[in-house]
Structure formats: structure tokens, C-alpha cells
Amino acid sequence: MRVPRATTLLRFGALALLVAFLLRPQSFAPLFAPLTQYGAPPIYDQGNLLSLALAQLGTVCLAAAASTLVAVGLGILVTRPSGAQFLPLSRTLVNIGQTFPPVAVLAVAVPLVGFGEKPTLIALFAYGLLPIFENTLVGLKTVPAAVLEAASGMGMSARQRLLGVELPLAMPLILEGIRLSLVINVGTATIGSTVAAKGLGEVIIAGLLSSNTAFILQGGLVTGLMAILLYDGMAALERRLLRSVALD
């Protein structure tokens, strides 16, 4: 019992630290002051850190929601007998989404949709598809054959079988895919600031431009803490949701 208690404490400590820093960044100024030179401000002062963090989180969640919808939808489609022929095509598309660098996606997207949040959403959406798609695929394909046969044998329609048996059994893996996708994209989202999306990338870029290590560190640390806490939070949520799904 000692070990989980320690990690829980650590988790709450990290959350408290993050919230405190975002609400009252100036009280951390003495900590960051040694990293600045020539009297530069130790705490980012060209925008509200809290609203930047929330904007970034919002973008990431929106992109993840879209990725989930498309990736799970595709995963379901290609595991149906009628959609099996689309598996290679879907896999290629999703792989391209992952291998094409998000920065390049931004470069392509800006001329099409303009500056701001939209190109970032597109880049994150494409980047986040792969883990969700692959996990959905594995989740649906590893439902035991006997369970599927029993479901059909009991008289479930294809739809009832999907919603009542296949998706619930694949859910642990699907949620894990969403978690991976979210965490990867919290970090990746900082590049959105290069095309004027609101986010913590702004802080990092400002730091790079003015050689202010304190800014770079602030943007990076807040992003990192958000990723870790999101990962933990999702994991806890999964455990709670799936407590009843006990697979030997």
C-alpha cells in the first residue's frame, strides 16, 4: 500500500505545482531569475500563461476527439467483412499521418486554411490517428472467436454484436490509444505557435528569440507537466471505467 500512496502524493504534488504556477506565476520569479541575463523578465509577461495552457489543452483535446472519431470509425470499418478490403489503404493513410512531420503539415496547411488554430488542428489530427487506429484494430481483432460466435449464435444482429460485445471488449485498448495520442500531441502542439495558434509554444519561441532560458524552461515544463498529468489522469479514468471488464 505504501507505493501507490507515494505515487498518488507525487501526482497531486505535480498538479498543485502546475496550478500554482499557472495562477500565480510571479511568485515563482525568484526561482527563474538566475536563468535570465541583463535584467530580462524571469516570468513570461507577453501573455497569460494560464490562458495559453488552456488554449493548448483545448486544441489538443479537439484534435484528439477528431482523431478518435475517424480512427475508431476506420478501425470498425476495416474489421467488418464488407470493409476488409480497405485495411491496406486505411493503414497507409494513417501511417502517412504519423510519418509526415507535423511541421510539414503546418507548411502545407497554412496556404490552404490560413494562419491560426486550424492548421495546428489538422497537423495534430493527422499525427494522432495512428495509435488510436492501430489499438482499435488490435482490440477488435483479438475479441475471442468463441465470444463472437456465441454472440451471433444467440441472435445478436451485427450492430448489437459490435456495440454490445466487440467495442466494450476492445475499449481498454482503444482508450490506451487515445491516451498515447493525447500525450504525444500535448508536446507536439507547441509547434502550432509558429503559425500563430495560441499555446505554450509562444513562450518557448519568445525565449528562443530573446535568448531567455527562463521562458524556454517555463513553456517546456508546463507542457511536460500537462502531458504527465494527462497521461496519469487518463490511466486513472480507464481503470475506473474498466473495473468491470476483467479479462483473464
Binding site: 468463441a146 463472437l148 454472440a151 449464435g153 444467440m154 466494450p168
Partner: protein, 310 residues
């Protein structure tokens, strides 16, 4: 009543089931036996249309099974498979309630039925209703599988090697339970197995399949006495056919009036068991005695031996 007419399944050039016809009487147990690849499972699955026949038809109480959508047909037919396929994310009670829920029964009726079935299958509802399948032993899972198949009071129960994964002691118990339950609910059962002993123990009639063809469909004793094909004799086994014949007759049926010294046997014991008892105890006659101690008659060695010859 199930009528199977010239049922055929072809995959390309290969014929897996070849013009099979037979009739299963209401309330009887038919066992389909055959080696692997004989087409027995395919035949079974064509009855509930998990596999669509290439030609031929199946009538359920005179009605063509193709006259309704397959998933609606299957809700009227119980189905038990090897490995049971219990839904791992649903409790025992939810598993059993599957078909009644699909049929839209009201909650009170479903609850009462689940409780009844759990009790019938000696699973205490208080302990097991909310258990998850992985918390059950193999034998308990098997019982839940059968309970689930029987939940919506199907007229027909199809079973594909339902006891294959059980150890011998639990299997014998499960087979006895099936006979009990079949007697209680009057369900028509079609069971697939590769185990001839199981076929002889459970089957009112046995269908022997080989290479997709139905070689013989008869009472178990007829398979022994009048095999229609050398393969049937090979399946039933020539070496111990007399013993198999004896195993089909109970002491109660064979008992003759009279009294005898010697061991007491139950009327439900098979002649094979009585013979074994006589050999073991060195006696030359047994008394057939009811559970309440009433003498039903006697069986001498000679009576028994006469029953073992065609």
C-alpha cells in the same frame, strides 16, 4: 421437430456436407458423430444458419428456417459451443439474460428466469449472479453456457462439442445434468461430438457422418447390431460392441421377476455396470433395488450375457 432435407454445403469445388437428410423428433436428443472434417459442425451450424446452406433446406416445426431473418431465427434456437464463448465483460446473470433481453422481456421476468436457471444448474444466485465469467471454474462456465442457451425457452438446443474442454469427472456430471434438464424442459437437442461414448450415452438417435455424408441415422443399438457401413462399425468399435450394447440397457428395463442373493444395483444402472459389479463381487446374480429399498427384480449373469448378443 427438425426436418433436414438434402442439406448441402459447398465451398468452391469441395463439398463439406453432401445432401444430408434426417428428422429429429420433438423432445429427443440426436447426436451427430464423426471424425474431424466430417462436416458435422457445418451441418449443425446450417440448422441455425450461422452457415448458409448451398442447397437443401431445414424445417423447424414444418416452417422453413429461411422464412425469417437469421438473427431472429437464432433467438428461438439455443446454441452452446466448445469454449462456451461467455461474454467476459458481463456478469453471469447478464450472460444468461442475453437472449431474453434481445427478445425484450420485462426485467422482472428476466430476473425470475435467471434465478430459476441458476438454481437448476446448482449455482447459488447470491454467490454467482454477479460473478464475472473468469471467476468461475471450467465446469461452472460450461453450466452458465448451457443456462444462457436455454434462457429464452428455445424449442431446440444445438450443442457443438459442449463437453470437450471438461475433465472426465466433470464431463460425466455435465452429461447427466444435460439429460436431467432435457427431461425437465422437454427441449429438442442436437449435439455434435467426436466421442462415441458420449453419443451412446446421450443420443436417442445417432447420426454418423464421414466425408460430408450421413452414413447412418439410427438408434444406438441399431448402429451396433446393423451397421450400414464398415465405417460405422469402425466408429462404434468392434472389440467392445457387446459391452456397448449392454451399456444401452438399464437394470430396471432388463430386470426379471424373482429374488436373488448377491449385490444390490440401482434400476438406473446400465447392464454393463451390473456385469462389472458381478465380475468384481464374484456373484452370479444381482438384486435390482429402488432408491427407497423396494425390490424390482433380479438379474443373473446369463440374463445379462443374453442381452449383449445381437
Amino acid at each position: 421437430m427438425i426436418t433436414v432435407e438434402k442439406l448441402t454445403k459447398r465451398y468452391g469445388e469441395t463439398t463439406v456436407v453432401d445432401e444430408v437428410s434426417f428428422t429429429v423428433e420433438r423432445g429427443s436428443i440426436t447426436v451427430i458423430v464423426g471424425t474431424s472434417g466430417s462436416g458435422k459442425s457445418t451441418l449443425l451450424r446450417m440448422i441455425n444458419r450461422l452457415i448458409e446452406p448451398s442447397s437443401g433446406r431445414v424445417l423447424l416445426d414444418g416452417r422453413d428456417t429461411r422464412s425469417e431473418p437469421a438473427h431472429l431465427l437464432r433467438r428461438r434456437i439455443g446454441y452452446v459451443i466448445q469454449g462456451y464463448g461467455l461474454f467476459p465483460h458481463r456478469t453471469v446473470a447478464e450472460n444468461i439474460a442475453t437472449v431474453p433481453r434481445l427478445l425484450g422481456w420485462d426485467t422482472a421476468r428476466i430476473e425470475a428466469r435467471v434465478r430459476e436457471l441458476l438454481t437448476v444448474f446448482s449455482l447459488d444466485p447470491a454467490t454467482y449472479a454477479h460473478a464475472l465469467p473468469y471467476q468461475l471454474s471450467g465446469g461452472q462456465q460450461q453450466r452458465v453456457g448451457v443456462a444462457r442457451a436455454l434462457a429464452a425457452e428455445p424449442v431446440v438446443l444445438l450443442m457443438d462439442e459442449p463437453f470437450g474442454a471438461l475433465d472426465p469427472i466433470i464431463r460425466a456430471k455435465a452429461q447427466d445434468d444435460l439429460l436431467d434438464i432435457q427431461g425437465r424442459f422437454g427441449t429438442t437437442v442436437v449435439l455434435v461430438t467426436h466421442d462415441m461414448d458420449e453419443a451412446f450415452m446421450l443420443g436417442d438417435r445417432v447420426a454418423v457422418m464421414s466425408g460430408g455424408r450421413l452414413l447412418q441415422y439410427d438408434r444406438p443399438a441399431e448402429l451396433l447390431v446393423h451397421p450400414a457401413d464398415p465405417f460405422v462399425s469402425r466408429m462404434t468399435g468392434l472389440a467392445d460392441r457387446a459391452m456397448r450394447l449392454l451399456s444401452l440397457v438399464t437394470a430396471g428395463e432388463a430386470a426379471l421377476p424373482g429374488v436373488a442373493e448377491g449385490p444390490a444395483v440401482a434400476p438406473t444402472a446400465s447392464l454393463r455396470e451390473v456385469l462389472s459389479e458381478l465380475v468384481w463381487s464374484g456373484a452370479d446374480a444381482a438384486r435390482v433395488v429402488d432408491a427407497d429399498g423396494t425390490l424390482r427384480g433380479r438379474l443373473t449373469l446369463a440374463d445379462i450375457l443374453a442381452r449383449g448378443a445381437p
